[in-house]
């Protein structure tokens, strides 16, 4: 509200020209359909994909997903708590328990956004390291001088060996994540990289664990993301995916659907001021393949021993696979 009129005039002119382009674009497409000419002609290769229940050209999906997360970034964590009544924390904790990471591993937290998985990973490995140290101390009540000297050498090395890379396509989400890390005082072992899950800027065989939590359904080409995951994992590395999935129980499914379509956009409007982004969220969940289909997709990328664990009746599923 507190901007001068002159700067506003410039912004309004910019907005109106952008609107004109958008309106023209959609009108041109519509007239093509009316004339019976397929949309393919005149556009790239005409491939389209889903954006929630809307059908959009493939090139547009990434940009639209970007805009969704750019607008919800600041209220992302609050909304997660409100929508899932805090249960998303339990889901993420379960992912860590299944992962059971040992200290000294390298994690690639794809679509890591605000950093929830990476923070948990570092906390887990640090506390495991402390526990291991205590056990070692307990079982080693009368250490020799050589043992003590050995301990001093390895003391500082091990905790910082656990490293997590938070990788996300969206700058705003990473910004929020960085602020969270600063506030929580988590610094060592954490790095922030911006990029696309379909094209990882890392060499082959780099990471011990690859996770993608509530992110893979927003990727335009899921198979490509899976192949990239396979590439950057070390042999013996583990792929873990936490994602919304199909509910098996029909009664629960109806309750879940009603809750999703009635409450969640309303919560989005009231808390984040953004109905449409949360409408997209609940629609995109319905468009994602079910547990078995996704398992086959993961196997198709080359992973072995693929299994999935249903949480909360199938609302959420954790898929796991190994690169051998």
């Amino acid at each position: 509200m507190a901007t001068s009129i002159r700067t506003l005039v410039l912004r309004v002119v910019g907005d109106s020209t952008r609107n004109i382009h958008h309106v023209l674009g959609s009108r041109v497409k519509h007239s093509f359909c009316n004339a019976g000419i397929t949309v393919c002609r005149g556009y790239s290769d005409g491939k389209s994909t889903h954006f929630g229940f809307e059908t959009v050209p493939e090139e547009d999906k990434a940009e639209r997903v970007y805009k969704v997360f750019e607008s919800v970034a600041k209220k992302y964590d609050v909304m997660n708590d409100a929508m899932s009544l805090g249960i998303h924390r339990l889901w993420k904790d379960t992912l860590l328990h299944i992962m059971n990471p040992q200290p000294g591993l390298r994690l690639l937290d794809t679509a890591g956004g605000t950093g929830d998985i990476s923070f948990r990973f570092l906390e887990y490995t640090h506390s495991m390291y402390d526990r291991q140290q205590r056990q070692r101390a307990r079982s080693n009540q009368t250490p020799s001088w050589q043992d003590l000297a050995g301990h001093y050498k390895t003391d500082e090395a091990a905790p910082s060996q656990s490293r997590a890379v938070v990788y996300d396509i969206n700058k705003e989400m990473l910004k929020v994540g960085k602020q969270k890390a600063e506030k929580a005082g988590i610094g060592t072992g954490l790095s922030w990289v911006m990029g696309d899950a379909e094209e990882l800027p890392f060499d082959d065989d780099q990471f011990d664990i690859y996770t993608i939590a509530f992110g893979i359904r927003n990727v335009t080409h899921i198979e490509q993301a899976l192949q990239e995951a396979f590439r950057v994992l070390k042999p013996g590395g583990r792929f873990l995916c936490l994602e919304f999935s199909k509910v098996s129980n029909p009664l629960l499914e109806r309750l879940y659907d009603t809750y999703s379509f009635q409450m969640i956009p309303v919560l989005g409007e009231v808390i984040a001021g953004d109905w449409k982004s949360y409408q997209y969220l609940v629609e995109s969940i319905r468009k994602f393949p079910d547990q078995e289909t996704f398992k086959e997709m993961i196997e198709g990328a080359g992973f072995f021993c693929v299994q999935y664990f249903n949480l909360t009746g199938g609302i959420v599923a954790i898929h796991s696979g190994f690169k051998l």
């Binding site: 509200m1 507190a2 901007t3 001068s4 009129i5 506003l8 005039v9 309004v12 002119v13 109106s16 959609s26 519509h30 889903h50 229940f53 809307e54 059908t55 959009v56 109806r254 659907d257 009603t258 379509f261 009635q262 409450m263 956009p265 309303v266 919560l267 409007e269 009231v270 808390i271 001021g273 109905w275 449409k276 409408q279 609940v282 629609e283 319905r286």
Partner: protein, 271 residues
């Protein structure tokens, strides 16, 4: 036997239909603007349950944080159906209001000719409106778009009401501080009967200081209520064609008493 089977199938169809109505939005996925029953570009169709949830949620959010103008807007949209119908009928029954409903003018920076307006004489509606916008550093483009009104004409009435708000400030001579806003809200509540205005008018004074509250209750409030009740409907005025009209003359035409002289006038006279 046949009857019970008939009854059962009727019930299941009815239940299925009502279920689809409730979650209807999820089942349509064609690629067009109207795929979910959109009546205007910014329209988001909602069912009564969602509207009730929105009304309650936005009310709580607006009370907690009065700077969330989007929540005040949502509250107005979800609770204002009856009042909007009455407003629309008042507009239809007035010749100028009827013209507005047909032509659908929008007050936006892109539609205003700022250079021409600033060249108008002092005391004219256009010049005073521009002065108000500059002094209070507000812009007509910051009004939220109407989203949850399920009728295209009523949505326009709501949008017009929002865009006329700043002009009301000019007409009433009220600045945009808390006391000025509450005075304008009292006027609007008396004129439009929108539940959101009435709520704002009753809860607004809570945040006022004692001296402001005194001013409100003694002089500004009664004047606002009186003017609001007596004045011609402010939505019926085609402001965009009256920029050259003298402000006092317009006030007389609309039956609005000039504001009682108070400390506010000092701010205006220093410009």
């Amino acid at each position: 036997m046949m009857l019970s089977r008939l009854l059962r199938s009727f019930l299941t169809i009815h239940c299925r239909r009502s279920y689809t109505v409730l979650t209807g939005q999820q089942h349509k996925s064609t690629d067009s603007n109207q795929y979910n029953g959109q009546l205007y570009p910014t329209h988001i169709p909602t069912n009564p349950v969602q509207k009730a949830l929105l009304a309650v949620g936005s009310g709580v959010a607006a009370l907690q944080n009065p700077y969330r103008h989007d929540m005040v807007a949502v509250l107005g949209e979800t609770t204002g159906h009856q009042a909007l119908i009455k407003l629309r009928d008042r507009m239809r029954n007035d010749p100028e209001g009827y013209t507005i409903l047909i032509e659908r003018p929008r007050i936006r920076l892109s539609t205003l000719d700022l250079t021409q307006m600033s060249a108008l004489p002092d005391g004219s509606l256009g010049r005073e409106y521009l002065r108000f916008l500059e002094e209070n550093r507000v812009t007509p483009d910051s009004r939220a778009d109407v989203k949850f009104v399920d009728n295209e004409e009523l949505a326009y009435v709501m949008q017009r009401y929002r865009e006329v708000h700043d002009l009301l400030h000019t007409l009433l001579g009220m600045p945009t501080n808390m006391l000025g806003e509450v005075a304008v809200k009292w006027f609007e509540a008396a004129q439009t009967g929108l539940p959101m205005c009435i709520l704002g008018a009753t809860l607004g004074p809570i945040r006022l200081s004692v001296s402001s509250l005194q001013l409100l209750l003694q002089s500004l409030g009664p004047w606002a209520l009186r003017s609001g009740g007596r004045a011609r409907c402010v939505l019926n005025i085609f402001y965009e064609r009256r920029w050259e009209q003298n402000l006092d003359e317009l006030r007389q035409e609309l039956n609005i008493d000039p504001p009682p002289l108070s400390i506010f006038q000092n701010r205006k006279s220093t410009s």
